[in-house]
Amino acid sequence: MTTGLVLVAPREIVDVVARASQVLSCEASLASSLAQDITYCQVHHGNGVKAFLQLVTQGPEVFVSTLKKAQELQVSDRYQFSWTNPIPFALLARLLNERGNQGFIWEDQNAAATGTDLVPGLELVAGSNPSGTPNVMQQALAQGVALEKTTWVSLGEIARSFLTAEATLDANQPVEA
């Protein structure tokens, strides 16, 4: 392993982001969806986890409301989106890919965008995702995703609050085990 970097399996990012999001007041459904978004962005565009960490520094209310705003992309009868507070690309990348599969693309998307880039708005037009792109996810599954150790540790620290003390659980068995 290169010093300063840690190889992480995609499923680990999913698990840890989902836990961290729940800790930060995100309901499990939204947390699960966000975990997919962040992982997708990290693998395909980079800086997904970093964008997540930047977002959470803004406090739980901004965090949750930003997530909900990003989810607007899922509503299939809207094509123009504009946000007063710009949305990190990390929250949009996967949803944009899905919309591309449905025949609508963001024509002005910067091919070099990473998760931390902020998007104030976008317009979807008829089109489809480019074909023949390399299977980046397959590569990530085989080789892992390189993350800065500090980033991975910071994420893990937030997620740690998801755990419940063993002593508490021992003292409150729900049934006679």
Binding site: R11, V23, L24, A28, F162, T164, E166, L169, V175
Partner: protein, 569 residues
């Protein structure tokens, strides 16, 4: 080249011949399941045999107590694997059955590729640390366990003195080492199995873990024989042919299997589905002398196995004495019906008049007649767990879908006051899943969201009062907390994906879901220790590593207890 239809298509085509989910996906039936020829321990060994895998122990550096390391090398279909085990001894007080512990007597890893010096050095540091260690995708599986406190030293003593193990005691053990975990598939930086090429020898579900478990068992035999040899070089003997395959690997299994089952409905569907397809195939057969003989041999072998194991019921399940009696009764019933045009179907129908544990025992015997090619089974078991499809449904259509797929929710008591008695937590002690009482411990953002059936029920309540022409996606925007339930609803899980079991209910019994999965792995000798965890054995009677060169036999289940007749004591 013909293409096999996807599993769900096959299930749809055969639906009239299959047992319905209302039966086999209920806790009672899931908790009655037994190993079959489809189980992963057996399919792994058949693949090894069929594709001529080669394997050997290539390093053994152990002291007189069996402490040190062992390395095994496997060449399979052009791929190279190594299993590296680090062994030590612990004070008896440090032994534990739980997945949670600070140290283990055996810690091991299965890796793909050459074992370089730098990789060995990394493993020597990280493997004994287990989940506190960090790995890279060269490592496929991480395992650990302990020696059997009751029998390991005793058996070493017997072999050292030139005797085989004492039949009366050692045969009850069933294992030399007891494992507590086989981690894989991306945990702790391990390689994600989804990255395996389709023709990779370990691409089938759990094949990597079962190769690791098989080699873990080998560590038990090798260290016992080593310790005996060091203890008394003049008199020590190796295990004789009666004993050399008898011991399996012990395993203690806890609550982790329950969240897994809920989170992987498509895999659950595949596991139940391939078994039901195989059963339907066998039931449709006309009798043949060869199949009849196979079945009769199975009756005999299973009867001998359960009789020699002996023992009463193991609450909530039946024990070996009861099972031996049921095999006997099935054999007697078989004698009366074997001349019927479809005798295997007749035997199954006879078994359906018995309690579910007897039925599933007969299913396990009948499936010995299944001839589904292994390649097809492997293919059907590989499931895509991609995100649920986007949906253009309206609220009204979603209501109808809920009614079609989940009309049974009320029957399993989701409206009862105790339906949400428990929530699922993750313990701060090495991430172990646990249950907590919702009334005494506040989940406060720590709940593992496997309360899917309760979520579906709540979704139903909100859908029924919403505008039926509203797009479901718009509804989801308004009610984002229903996201997981909506994804579950719109996804195609197949007929068997959803166990009819509310895992948050006060009366939920985790053992049932655990047993189903363990049986699919190929485990047997189910011995519950509480409502939440149980002991099992794996690979008991299975061929050994050096049998790879002479040929493996698939008929190793239900091993007879060694007679001891050749023992020289």
């Amino acid at each position: 080249m013909t293409t096999t239809p996807p599993l769900n298509e096959l299930l749809e085509q055969t639906v009239g011949d299959l047992r319905p989910a209302e039966q086999v996906a209920t806790p009672q039936w899931l908790g009655a399941t037994r190993q079959t020829r489809l189980s992963f321990s057996r399919s792994m060994l058949r693949r090894a045999q069929g594709r001529q895998w080669q394997g050997e122990r290539v390093a053994s550096d152990l002291d007189d107590q069996g402490r040190g390391h062992l390395v095994y090398r496997i060449e399979a279909e052009g791929y190279l694997f190594h299993f590296v085990a680090f062994t030590t001894t612990l004070d008896e007080s440090q032994h534990t059955d739980r997945v949670v512990a600070d140290a283990w007597e055996i810690s091991a890893a299965l890796i793909e590729g050459p074992l370089t010096d730098d990789l060995f050095a990394l493993l020597a540091t990280e493997v004994p640390a287990q989940e506190r260690g960090r790995f890279d995708p060269r490592v496929l599986v991480l395992a650990r366990g302990n020696r059997s406190v009751r029998f390991y030293d005793q058996i070493v003593g017997h072999l050292a003195a030139g005797r085989q193990p004492p039949v009366g005691q050692a045969a009850d053990a069933g294992y030399l080492l007891r494992s507590t975990a086989f981690y894989g598939n991306g945990k702790f930086g391990l390689r994600s199995f989804l990255s395996f090429e389709k023709d990779h020898p370990l691409a089938a579900p759990y094949r990597a873990q079962f190769l690791a478990a098989w080699l873990f068992r080998e560590v038990g035999f090798d260290t016992v024989e080593h310790c005996a040899q060091v203890k008394s070089p003049e008199t020590a003997v190796a295990f004789d042919p009666q004993w050399r395959c008898f011991f399996g690997v012990g395993n203690a299994t806890g609550l982790g299997l329950v969240p897994w089952a809920v989170r992987h409905p498509k895999i659950m569907n595949a596991w139940v589905g391939v078994r039901e397809l195989a059963l339907a195939n066998v039931r449709s057969k006309t009798g043949s002398p060869q199949d009849n003989l196979t079945l009769e041999k199975c009756f005999k072998r299973a009867s001998q196995h359960f009789s020699s194991l002996g023992g009463g019921d193991r609450h909530p399940w039946r024990g070996p004495d009861w099972l031996a009696q049921r095999v006997q009764e099935a054999a007697e019933a078989w004698d009366k019906i074997k001349s019927e045009p479809r005798p295997y179907d007749a035997l199954y129908r006879w078994s359906e008049q018995q309690p579910p544990e007897a039925t599933e025992l007969v299913v396990s015997l009948l499936l010995e007649l299944d001839q589904t090619p292994d390649e097809l089974i492997d293919q059907l078991l590989l499931t895509e767990e991609s995100s649920p499809p986007s949906t253009a449904l309206t609220v009204g259509e979603a209501c109808a879908l809920l009614e079609q797929k989940y009309s049974w929710l009320e029957e399993i008591g989701v409206k009862n006051s105790h339906a949400d008695h428990c929530w699922w937590a993750v313990s701060d002690n090495t991430d172990e899943p646990r249950r907590a009482n919702r009334r005494s411990v506040d989940p406060e953002h720590r709940e593992v969201p496997i309360d899917l059936l309760l979520r579906l029920h709540r979704l139903e309540q909100d859908l029924t009062v919403a505008n039926p022409v509203l797009a479901l996606n718009t509804f989801r925007q308004e009610f984002p907390h229903h996201g997981l339930a909506i994804d579950r609803l719109v996804d195609d899980l197949g007929p068997y994906g959803e166990a009819r079991d509310n895992v948050c209910a006060q009366d939920h019994l985790p053992l049932n879901l655990q047993r189903f999965q363990l049986a699919m792995y190929g485990m047997d000798n189910f011995t519950p220790q509480s409502t939440d965890w149980l002991r099992v054995t794996l690979f008991q009677g299975a061929p050994r590593l050096d049998d790879l060169s002479t040929g493996l036999n698939d008929k190793w289940v239900w091993p007879p207890r060694p007679s001891g007749e050749n023992n020289d004591h």
